[in-house]
């Protein structure tokens, strides 16, 4: 799930919309320090959109809590959302061009055709 928060589409297409055909739950050791360091690098609105795209039953507040460091419940939810949901099969869709990037075995194929590269 984290990957989709970093990728962009054809030109400025961000965030990519996610269509998931198969989502897998993986278990990653919870590390408070790690997730605290990652959070400032996340586009929060894009992440909330992704949670919504996937229809996950995880509640992320509308805006990021101010005292993130002290909010253990929030940190644990972020850990789970970012690291423990893996989109095995599906596609990422560029919001500008509608171009679809397939995800197979958990790996998105972002290769563009020569004609698409500006």
């Amino acid at each position: 799930m984290l990957t989709s928060n970093i990728l962009k589409g054809v030109t400025r297409g961000f965030p990519l919309k996610i269509k998931a055909d198969k989502v897998e739950n993986v278990s990653v050791d919870y590390n408070r320090d790690f997730i605290t360091r990652i959070i400032p690098r996340i586009e929060y609105d894009a992440l909330r959109a992704a949670v919504n795209d996937l229809g996950l039953n995880e509640s992320l507040p509308e805006t990021m809590p101010e005292a993130v460091q002290q909010d253990d419940e929030f940190l644990k939810t972020m850990h789970k959302v970012l690291l423990e949901y893996e989109i095995e099969e599906g596609e990422l869709i560029c919001p500008e061009t509608g171009r679809k990037f397939p995800i197979s075995k958990g790996i998105p194929n972002m290769l563009l055709q020569e004609t698409e590269v500006s």
Binding site: L7, N31, L83
Partner: protein, 216 residues
């Protein structure tokens, strides 16, 4: 000496589709080991490998250089290499500790904006062999064909690395004598990076070295 990551899950059939780790791969691992203290001190949070292939270098770093959880990005144009990187990471039991993101793409085009100035450690064992062109179709050929002077892909990677590196970030890359260190130094200089040769080795057929790049 750290052990080489476990690659016992691969068969000959796999190596017909991905680059089989060779002297150049092991040279990169040895060079990293020489820089162990610097890398540990950096406490890399984000690590990225261009053309991760079998996944040997990313796995080696995850296992030995990142004592706390880190975020790994491995990219390759070859889907089979992407999947192989994932397998090697899992084979070495690193996927519960670290977060590995694999993307099939050409260099870091779709990632570079969001990762700009954020990557602490970059690795690259590039296609460095001088060939007529680096624009080749066959997957195995793409693992080595470096185009003119062997630096067509290297040149792009240095430019991207200069944007990706964090302020103290380190970038390690294998190169061939024919790539010409002075050329690499000049390319890096143009994009604001310092260069240093940290390890040289002569194999039966090649004279190789590993370059360290860092922001000035």
């Amino acid at each position: 000496m750290f052990p080489t990551p476990d690659l016992s899950h691969f068969t000959r059939n796999d190596y017909s589709q991905i680059y089989e780790p060779d002297a150049d791969s092991f040279l990169l691992l040895d060079a990293l080991e020489l820089k162990l203290n610097e890398i540990l001190e950096l406490k890399p949070l984000i690590v990225l490998e261009f053309g991760s292939g079998s996944g040997i270098a990313t796995t080696f770093v995850a296992k030995n250089f990142c004592l706390t959880p880190s975020l790994f990005f491995a990219i390759d144009i070859n889907p089979y290499a992407c999947y192989s990187t994932k397998r090697t990471f899992e084979q070495n039991n690193l996927h519960h500790k670290h977060c590995l993101n694999i993307v099939q793409c050409n260099l870091t085009d779709p990632l570079i904006e969001r990762l700009s100035s954020k990557v602490d450690l970059i690795l690259f064992n590039p296609p460095y062999v001088p060939t007529e062109t680096s624009d080749v179709k066959e997957v195995i050929e793409r693992t080595y064909a470096g185009g003119k002077q062997g630096i067509e892909v290297i040149e792009k990677a240095i430019e991207q690395a200069s944007r990706l590196l964090s302020s103290k970030g380190l970038f390690y890359m294998v190169a061939l004598e024919e790539n010409n260190f002075d050329t690499l130094k000049e390319l890096a200089n143009q994009v604001g990076l310092n260069t240093d040769i940290i390890l040289k080795r002569r194999t039966l057929i090649e004279r190789l070295f590993v370059v360290e790049f860092q922001r000035k």
